[in-house]
Amino acid sequence: MRADRRDFLKGSLAASTLMAFGDGTIPGFLASSAKAASDSAPSDKILVVIQLIGGNDGLNTVIPHGIDGYSKYRQALRISSAQVQTVTKEIGLHPRMSGMAKLHEAGQLSIIQGVGYPNPDRSHFRSMEIWETARTETGALETGWLGRTLDARIVKPGEDAPGLHIGGGSLPLGLRTKRTEVPSLENIEQYRLNADNRTSRDAIRDVAKMDRPGDDPLLGFLRRNSLAAYESSRRIEEMIKSSSESSDYPKLRLAKRLELIAKVIKAGFGTRIYYTSLDGFDTHANQLGVHENLLGELSDSVSAFHRDLTTAGQADRVAILAFSEFGRRVAENASRGTDHGSAAPVFVMGPVAKPGLVGDHPKFDDLDDGDLKHHTDFRNVYASILDDWMGVPSRDILGPGFSPLPLFKKA
């Protein structure tokens, strides 16, 4: 994986992520901020992506308890019909996913079954690259599918960052752009410059801003990130200062991240794409308890987020996508866990057109070397989001051949 990821980094260097930025050194959206809120129409639709890292066991998430085969392959890990949150007679959500079950009842949850891509790769790193770039051919790792979506529109001066990554660690490949720096933050308290006076704040900024005739691309990249950091932190500090209501969110890492996203949305930011993640799904051993907690965290966090947005009158403009790089083997292993597999369900939440199950459960009697076969390409899911939710032609982002699923009303 590292070689491929490096290829991508190198590619992005060569391909202009690091190239000089036309005339200015500050990305357009950061240049000024005063009138940003009015410029970015608050009616614009918002996408929140939650990446479930490690390969989520789809079979124990959207559980085919009433389908022959489930109990044959799952013994130590089996969850019985009596325990699940009902979706249909044969299929239910994991018992801990009551929050998402309620979203389903309210017509706010689509479960797309059997999602994957041809020739599935069982390496976490490669498969994440495929999902995040929406490219299955090797070497095409310059930008993420959302990065290309951000690049599809020229950002006007004074606009807010069009995308935000909420979380620690490096920027996800999915958000890699060619043109803008996507800010990345874990919490607001740390997202500020602690210079004790204005003079030194300005001096630090000036040094980053000064033109370097040498025009080294790596240095340019560092300069732009420094400037983006100083500007976006100032802007976020300004915007968030006003909101300090008490929190109804559970004390979970994902919930805190979604709460931060909700704050930014409610503060009137023009950002339309938010990206965050929940890690830990690589459950090779003793899966039951770990997996239960993860699904509980996902469901409780999303549910609190949706409640918050509903109260604020913002729920109708927010769709949530939750995906993982692959599902797991149909048969459990001897460590009461599951190894890397392929096809799995994907969740889309929000004002969906077709709540409930989309597509059939993959067949147990037609496995590919012990793995479920996919019938829906993940890029068809992306196409629905792009065409029918974000209003960005998916062909430009994904290439031809991926028609949208009927997840949203046509834009």
Binding site: M1, R2, A3, D4, R5, R6, D7, L9, K10, S12, L13, T17, L18, I53, R122, S123, H124, F125, G168, G169, S170, L171, E181, V182, P183, S184, L185, Q190, Y191, L193, N194, A195, S200, A203, I204, V207, A208, R212, L218, L219, F221, L222, R223, N225, S226, A228, A229, Y230, S232, D279, H284, A285, A331, N333, A334, S335, G337, D339, H340, D369
Partner: protein, 452 residues
């Protein structure tokens, strides 16, 4: 330079007019092979030349920065590690290691220990046992500049690794593929050098390997003693045969050397196999003695070529440890617990890499949060007048006047890395404010200072 014949690239560096042995190259060596160096060390090595400087990095200095001898320092720190209980917090472990990096008489050994920690990336967030993590860390340090064959063999039996990759119960009935996959993909060969079938067969060879009460154990009854075919070799293999098979693959030496290239030469450009071949061949000829490629790279013309200088992004740990060492913030040093937190905010928690692939490194170290954290850490140090006085340090090296002080800090921290306009700006600040803190602030927060 890279367009040249690979043998030329790796031939021994001899200073000449195009690549003189100057302050910039001395500092470059210490940034890449260690964690930057104090002024006195830079000056000494400038006098003594590249060979003596590299040899001292390979062998280690005789005394540490806290005045103890190298042997005392090692004993003290190895002992410190054993006093911690299994429940010790990750921050404690990080702080102890950061302290060791700041004061160590053998910076290259710590750099290489960190390299193996990143290579065999294991996280305490899942292992949840400080003692196992420290044992693994000691394993990396023991072999950091030693024998890769032993290291690859031992890591397969390392309890922290086996807990991390869910391989504590490898039962005959249903082999667990996790370790088998990662050892091929990430530890020895790289993607594309094996098939799914090789993984399944290797998992069978590993059956019978257990971790019982935090110790490695082989349970013969759980071993599948049938014949397996792994990477073209067929036999009734056990887990101990697996590293032997991997080490015989031609891609193995190349894979490790490629990662060393990223550590020492560049993590931006992707070297082709032909460029790496001379180093990989030497590595294999030396029976996987790690010192051989390390010495070859750090003493090469390519390493000292102008195109190699300042083309790596410092990792958070390099950034903070280097700052402490360059500025000699030693008595007392900054609380290394605080430094550990700072590194976390910059995106690097030691003992807690984001995945089994380690940290992405390179440009992935940089995002807006990381830049704010770096700037804030530098600002925090400069505001901490009890620990660091820019005036006193400059005075110690006879830089008293504002202009000399500016020159001193530029030479110490960025050498020729600032363009003339920037140098002017720093000198003007020194003259105008008469405040050495402002000078150091401008340098430590400059984009140039993020580069190694």
């Amino acid at each position: 330079m890279r367009a040249l014949d690979p043998l030329q690239c790796w031939s021994r560096y001899e200073p000449d007019d195009s690549a003189p042995w100057n302050l910039a190259r001395v500092a470059h060596l210490h940034r890449r092979a260690g964690f930057a160096a104090p002024w006195s060390v830079l000056q000494r090595d400038l006098k003594e030349g590249p060979d003596a400087s590299l040899e001292r990095l390979i062998l280690g200095e005789s005394t540490s920065s806290d005045g103890t001898t190298a042997a005392e320092f090692a004993t003290l720190h190895n002992g410190l590690a054993t006093q911690l209980g299994g429940n010790a917090e990750a921050t404690r472990l990080q702080a102890i290691w950061l302290y060791r990096m700041i004061f160590t008489p053998h910076p290259l050994l710590e750099r290489m220990t960190m390299f193996w920690h990143n290579h065999f990336a294991t996280s305490i967030t899942k292992v949840k046992n400080a003692v196992l993590m420290l044992r693994q860390n000691a394993l990396f340090r023991t072999h950091a500049l030693g024998d890769f064959r032993t290291l690859l063999t031992e890591i397969g039996r390392d309890p922290a690794m086996l807990v991390w990759l869910d391989s504590t119960e490898n039962r005959k009935a249903k082999p667990n593929e996790n370790y088998a996959r990662e050892v091929m993909e990430l530890f020895a060969l790289g993607r594309g050098q094996y098939s799914e079938k090789d993984i399944q067969e290797a998992a069978r060879a590993l059956t019978g390997w257990f971790v019982v009460k935090n110790r490695f154990n082989i349970l013969p009854a759980q071993h599948d003693d049938g014949v397996k075919t792994i990477l073209g070799h067929t036999g009734p293999f056990t887990g101990d045969d697996l590293p032997k098979i991997l080490l015989e693959q031609p891609s193995c030496g190349l894979f490790v050397v490629r990662k060393l290239y990223k550590l020492f030469i560049s993590d931006l450009d992707e070297p082709n196999d032909a460029l790496l071949a001379p180093v990989a061949n030497a590595f294999r000829r030396a029976n996987y003695d790690i010192k051989v490629p390390v010495q070859m790279m750090l003493g090469s013309r390519l390493f000292y070529d102008g195109s190699t200088l300042r083309k790596r992004v410092k990792s958070p740990v390099e950034y903070v440890v280097g700052m402490m060492r360059s500025l000699e913030v030693l008595r007392p040093t900054v609380s290394t617990d605080k430094l550990a937190q700072a590194c976390e905010q910059m995106g690097q928690s030691l003992y807690s890499p984001p995945s089994v692939a380690g940290w992405d490194g390179g440009t992935a170290w940089i995002n807006t949060t990381a830049m704010l954290a770096r700037t804030n850490t530098a600002l925090g140090l400069i505001a901490d007048t009890g620990r660091f006085s820019p005036e006193a340090l400059a005075k110690m090296y006879q830089a008293r006047e504002p202009k000399d002080l500016a020159r001193f800090y530029l030479d110490l921290l960025v050498q020729d890395g600032f363009e003339p306009k920037l140098v002017e700006r720093v000198e003007a600040t020194a003259l105008r404010t008469k405040d050495p803190k402002e000078v150091v602030t401008l340098i430590l927060t400059a984009p140039e200072y993020q580069l190694a």
